[in-house]
């Protein structure tokens, strides 16, 4: 087990600081946006999250793309001259790929967690110090935001089970695609088809409450991509 953990640590240490940097960037950008729309423009928190003018979605999209880029660029421990050592380990390439997928999953979950936390902090601060300070209904109003705003509802779909499943399948798909992309990069083959999976994520954040059919389509689409990538990575591909 320690063998696998040490390789996991090796994968993580290539990108962990960049990932933390991205999370800080997300927090800083969201903080600045919240300050501008709430304190300067007095837009109101519901308007801010609901109208989409505040561009929280855009910031998340940028961080999302950068995180995918970091995972693809730094996740491959076989590339570079250190790869000469990795190729002499008894641990198989498929096991390394699995570890890479796990690490990517962890990164996406942390990104999701940090984004939700940032929104909670913004809401809490707003209801404590903003125009509704001291309002006993502020907690309820805060949770209502997660039903009204497609972005917030996509991040935290509350009791909508299908949307939770779609989110989990999305995280799995992104993690697998990013790991597979590193293999394609190493083999110098095109990975343009993998972009389909990344683009589908846009649909996730445009879901309204109760988008049953869209959730089913998203889950189905992601599962097909996962199946194709896994077959290519774990069954068709020869070991390095």
């Amino acid at each position: 087990m320690k063998k696998y953990l040490s390789v996991f640590a090796l994968i993580a240490q290539n990108s962990i600081y960049r990932i933390f940097g991205l999370l800080l960037l997300l927090a800083a950008a969201d903080g600045v946006l919240a300050w501008y729309w709430l304190a300067v423009k007095h837009y109101g928190i519901q308007n801010m999250f609901h109208s989409g003018n505040a561009r929280f979605g855009l910031v998340l999209a940028i961080v999302f793309v950068l995180m995918a880029a970091v995972q693809i660029r730094c996740g491959d421990i076989y590339s570079g001259t250190s790869g000469y050592t990795v190729r002499r380990l008894a641990i198989s390439e498929k096991a390394v790929l699995l570890l890479q997928i796990l690490y990517n999953m962890l990164c996406w979950i942390i990104l999701w967690g940090v984004q939700v936390l940032i929104i909670f902090v913004i809401c809490k601060l707003y209801y404590r110090f903003g125009e509704y300070a001291g309002d006993p209904l502020s907690e309820q109003q805060m949770f209502l935001l997660f039903y009204i705003s497609p972005l917030l509802h996509s991040l935290l779909p509350m009791e909508e089970t299908l949307a939770w499943i779609a989110n989990l399948v999305m995280i799995a798909e992104l993690s697998i695609s990013s790991a597979y992309w590193t293999v394609r990069r190493r083999e110098k083959s095109s990975a343009a088809d993998l972009l389909i999976g990344y683009w589908t994520v846009v649909l996730i954040f445009r879901r309204e409450l109760g988008s049953y059919i869209l959730n089913v389509i998203i889950i189905g689409g992601f599962l097909i991509i996962i199946a194709i990538d896994c077959w290519r990575m774990f069954f068709r591909k020869k070991e390095v």
């Binding site: 320690k2 063998k3 040490s6 090796l10 240490q13 290539n14 001259t81 250190s82 790869g83 000469y84 050592t85 190729r87 002499r88 380990l89 008894a90 641990i91 198989s92 070991e239």
Partner: protein
């Protein structure tokens, strides 16, 4: 024993190795010599399965695979360590992955070369990086140690130290294939010299045979390469001749 049979390798239409046949038995220190681009590094990388090739390479009678590749270690001037890790972390990593890893040898060599144990290797000087690369290759506990110009950039005293240490610590079953341009420096301690030119083995001789013939290694290499000493005089004459 490492055995190469008719090994060929082509790079973008150019043949880097041409039907190489070579045997490396256990317990030998073999020098691999050749000019830049002769195929020394390619040969080593084919042995390590880092490059695809045509032909056959076996390690103790078996094809080289994930099962037996731990018998090989590699020290290269390109550096195969993990730059963000400290030597201490490398030691833990190697202990975990290589059952034969010699902690005693690692600690001894770290102390001998006076390398810091808790600084990321990427912050080492070039000379220290080379030393650390060699320490890892020697400590892995491999039966066959491939060293590809490991001291490019180190000073002469440093190299001298290394040669002495190498001779002192090697076990009888350990084989070293050492690729270098420093022919005269290594001629005293290698047991055999293999010469490669344009991807072909053009010379393979035991130092004891050379001694019997009363020939030194440099003379042998020059004759194998058909080196013409008068070409310098000729070139200088051409360049300096007045019209």
């Amino acid at each position: 024993m490492i055995e190469l049979k008719n090994v060929s390798k082509t790079y973008r239409g150019k043949r880097a190795l041409k039907n190489v046949n070579l045997t490396l038995p256990r317990g030998e220190i073999v020098g691999l010599f050749g000019e830049n681009g002769a195929g020394k590094t390619t040969l080593m990388k084919c042995i390590l399965n880092l490059h695809p090739y045509n032909g056959e390479i076996t390690l103790d009678g078996e094809p080289i695979s994930r099962k037996n590749i731990v018998k090989l270690s590699f020290g290269t001037s390109e550096h195969s360590f993990f730059p963000n890790l400290t030597p201490r972390s490398h030691k833990e990593f190697y202990k975990e992955h290589f059952d034969t890893f010699s902690e005693k040898r690692f600690d001894g060599l770290m102390e001998f070369f006076n390398l810091p144990a808790y600084r990321a290797v990427k912050n080492f000087s070039t000379g220290q990086k080379n030393q650390f690369e060699v320490i890892l290759a020697l400590s892995q506990g491999a039966d066959y140690i491939l060293l590809d110009e490991p001291f490019a950039g180190n000073d002469v005293f440093n190299r001298e130290d290394f040669y002495k240490v190498l001779l002192g610590i090697l076990e009888p079953h350990e084989t070293v294939l050492l690729s270098t341009h420093l022919i005269e420096e290594v001629s005293d301690f290698i047991g055999r010299a293999v010469l490669i030119r344009q991807g072909e083995i053009v010379g393979d001789v035991y130092m004891s045979d050379l001694e019997d013939q009363g020939m030194d290694l440099m003379t042998y290499i020059k004759s194998a390469y058909q080196y013409k000493a008068d070409r310098i005089i000729q070139a200088l004459t051409n360049m300096t001749d007045e019209e």
